[in-house]
């Protein structure tokens, strides 16, 4: 079955991973800017990283037969230094115009500090100033519930926000309802230990239905699985769900989500 992985950090994966993903049916990936595992030393590092996501990774993916799209942003892990963050935010407008960029992401909160909120407000403002879609990273573990509520509060405060153009990502059982009820897209991440499993994701589909639900691997430089979406497909089939429902979750939903960006130009090669 053809599928999208709407959130994966391709820059941290090997070319072999991309070839395997393509063999399993991956046709499109979305790569949000994020933390590389260490704090970058200066704005130039971000500039180069944004170039990597808009110039080099699309080529590497295309060689495997996968279309690559990117999101430009500053992860909450590097949002604490507000002055530095402001310099990075100033770099964004030029990159947001690049042809494979869908919007601003992944942005959000990590430890939910005052400085993180200040930087987040700056990022949201930069996004809305040019009517960009936004992809939100919600915190890990014990911070997730509180951080998700705070992000939703910040969004509710801003009248310019169109929930249909916002995705609240890394939702779990205690946060998914909050995102869906407010009209946002909800991302569920298949990631070991700290996020959801294929079985729990299938549970959430059974409880909340497929509307505005996205499933992703968020595979990165840590222990994670670039074939997590196909694993989810297999789990859904094992549980007896029809291919029409599975396809909606892994193909039609991300297609509808990405299509809201004028930069998205994917045209299905096969009539499926």
């Amino acid at each position: 079955m053809d599928f999208f992985d709407p959130h994966i950090h391709v820059a941290s994966r090997t070319t072999d991973d991309l070839a395997l993903m393509a063999k399993m049916g991956c046709v499109v990936v979305g790569e949000p800017a994020f933390w590389m595992g260490y704090d970058r030393g200066g704005v130039n590092s971000f500039h180069d990283y944004f170039r990597q996501l808009t110039e080099w990774e699309p080529k590497r993916c295309a060689a495997a037969g996968i279309e690559h799209y990117a999101w430009m942003g500053l992860n909450a892990k590097e949002a604490e230094n507000v002055g530095f963050a402001r310099e990075v935010i100033a770099e964004l407008p030029a990159f947001l115009e690049r042809p494979n960029v869908l919007g601003v992401g992944e942005i959000g909160l990590h430890k939910c500090t005052r400085n993180e909120v200040t930087t987040l407000l700056g990022l949201i403002d930069a996004a809305l100033a040019s009517s960009q879609m936004m992809l939100f990273h919600t915190p890990h573990l014990e911070d997730k519930y509180k951080g998700t509520r705070m992000i939703l509060d910040v969004l509710a405060d801003d009248r310019r926000v169109d929930p249909a153009r916002v995705c609240i990502d890394h939702c779990e059982e205690h946060t998914i309802r909050l995102a869906l009820e407010s009209g946002y897209w909800a991302g569920v991440t298949l990631y070991p230990t700290t996020k959801a499993t294929p079985e729990r994701t299938a549970d959430m589909v059974e409880m909340y239905g497929p509307e505005r639900l996205l499933v992703n691997s968020s595979a990165d430089w840590g222990p994670s699985n670039p074939l997590a979406v196909p694993e989810f497909i297999a789990t859904m089939r094992r549980r007896g769900h029809p291919d029409s429902l599975i396809r909606r979750l892994v193909y039609e939903n991300p297609l509808a989500w990405f299509r809201q960006s004028e930069h998205f130009r994917f045209a299905p090669a096969r009539a499926t």
């Binding site: 507000v82 939910c112 500090t113 005052r114 400085n115 909120v117 200040t118 407000l121 573990l141 014990e142 911070d143 997730k144 519930y145 509180k146 509520r149 705070m150 509060d153 779990e172 059982e173 205690h174 729990r200 549970d203 589909v205 059974e206 409880m207 909340y208 239905g209 094992r238 549980r239 007896g240 769900h241 029809p242």
Partner: protein, 84 residues
Amino acid sequence: MANAATSGVLDREFLPLRARLIDLAAALDRIDRASGLPAADPRREQIAHGLAVLNSPEPNRAEAVLAAFSLPYDPEWRAKTPRG
């Protein structure tokens, strides 16, 4: 949305569930056997809370376990986290 294979759920879940319960029991035994752990570690309370949720007849246990391991949300956070 109903589970598409309701009749097979117990068949499918029984052995993996049994295995995970044994894993869980063994991990708790391991913690008990370790010497010198502070009895008042707040994580022990979270674990106890999580186990109580597993044994409860209420639905949405996964959500309740996640809640047991979550920091509280304060709706007044803006006043306490002023905009910089």
